[in-house]
Amino acid sequence: MNLQAVKSIYIFEMSRTFRTLLQSIVSPVLSTSLYFVVFGAAIGSRIQEVDGVSYGAFIVPGLIMLTVLTQATSNAAFGIYFPKFIGTIYELLSAPISFLEIVMGYVGAAATKALAIGLIILLTAAFFVDIQIAHPFWMLTFLVLTCVSFSLFGFILGIWAQNFEQLQLVPLLVITPLVFLGGSFYSISMLPPLWQNVTLFNPVVYLISGFRWSFYGTADVAIGLSITMIALFLAICLGIIWWIFKTGYRIKT
């Protein structure tokens, strides 16, 4: 295995984060803080506790997921789309490096960024509300799995996209609505029965529910189901990436 190449891609991608620190880290932290100000302090003070947790604390896992999902997807998508767009992908294709190693480099960097942002948001949230983490191990496991699986998803998106519009389409029009409708700011038990059933078709529900369980010990769906759904999503993404590299879809002619 060409680990030197994986390391080179990883460091190269991470250095992009530090070069664009304001956009990469400060911006999601600022927008999350605004969510706390609006939903936590202004609106949250008028809402009763949800599942025995104050509303401000209740939305923390959902807010982290909202940012982590969009950041992991966007970072990985941009990471591989940019070399395609400017033509430097020739270097990756002509280097003695396997497709698995390319994925490890790009997805590893995107997942690290998303993880770092998730943890920074958690720290930021601690300034606004009291946070308890009932299952720290599972909290980290959920977070890491989500970062990796959505970075893989972003990588697929970056390969598929043929222009910047397509690149932004999925995070804006798919991920964000799914997260908002996936119980980020409410418990799905608060919905009418029909909508509770409809919501179960939203895969993000399982992520947020499981992640919230790791904080407060309460979940909308069974924890085993949440883990299964993440594992399934991860497996599907890996399968698609394997197919992309086998066929050279939108990479090789």
């Binding site: 030197q4 190269f12 400017i86 003695p96 090789k252």
Partner: protein, 308 residues
Amino acid sequence: MAPIVSINNLSKTYEGGHHALRDVSLDIEEGEILALLGPNGAGKTTLISIICGIVSPTGGTVTVGGHDVVDDYRHARTLIGLVPQEITLEPFEKVFRTVSFSRGLFGKPPNSQLISDVLEKLSLLDKKDSAINQLSGGMRRRVLIAKALSHEPRVLFLDEPTAGVDVELRKSMWSIVRDLKKNGVTIILTTHYIEEAEAIADRIGIISDGQLLLAEDKEALMGRLGRKQMRIDLQAPLDELPENLSNYELERAEDGTYLTYVYDTQADRTGITALLNDLGDAGIRIRDVQTQQSSLEQIFVDLVKETP
């Protein structure tokens, strides 16, 4: 000695049915400079792209250093450096970092001294901390060469290295290529500048419509296919050619001050002696005689024209 690059019956048909390469076979010896000449769309870039792993072949095989470029791509690609035709660089990256990145991609450990040496050879050392978007076009092209050399390749592919660059830079590129050859690097360059191939190549390959028409030693090619022109300056202008000279392929200048005779250098008889005798018999006095080898350009044009 086994060739460093061996191409066997290589073909490529793109989606849509375009045949970019048709059954191309070619051996490239270690340490030589091979220039691939051909008009736009002839298949030069496709050939290079297949060897380097950017494009998948439809048929045939290629080995580099004895390693198949598909089945044993890791070993094969380790030996190859590629300078693409287009200037493709991350605009905000620093020169030193982007060159070091290339070395890392090829599995080589960081080596600041080597990168500095490469940059120095390419007159880029003073720009090592500059962002790519602050460099001139010529410098960017040299950064591409530095990236390709950063992992110490044994075979270097230069795809149209001097396309769109000025004469001075072109000559500087030729000098770089000659230096690389001195260090034992095998160089394959594509170009449609005949002058370039004539100036630096050891061997010329001509591609047209996806077919390799020939690959021959440059001097031998020019000798074999070259025709020479003899210009005969006359002491007095000639109104028309005398009867006894009508059998020669002679062309009279408009003002009649000189005659041009084209002959094949490889023919058993060039006809020069007989022509000069007949000129004397006709009472035509000669002031000067000059001969000129026909250029690669003419050879190239003739060959491509002959291709069905």
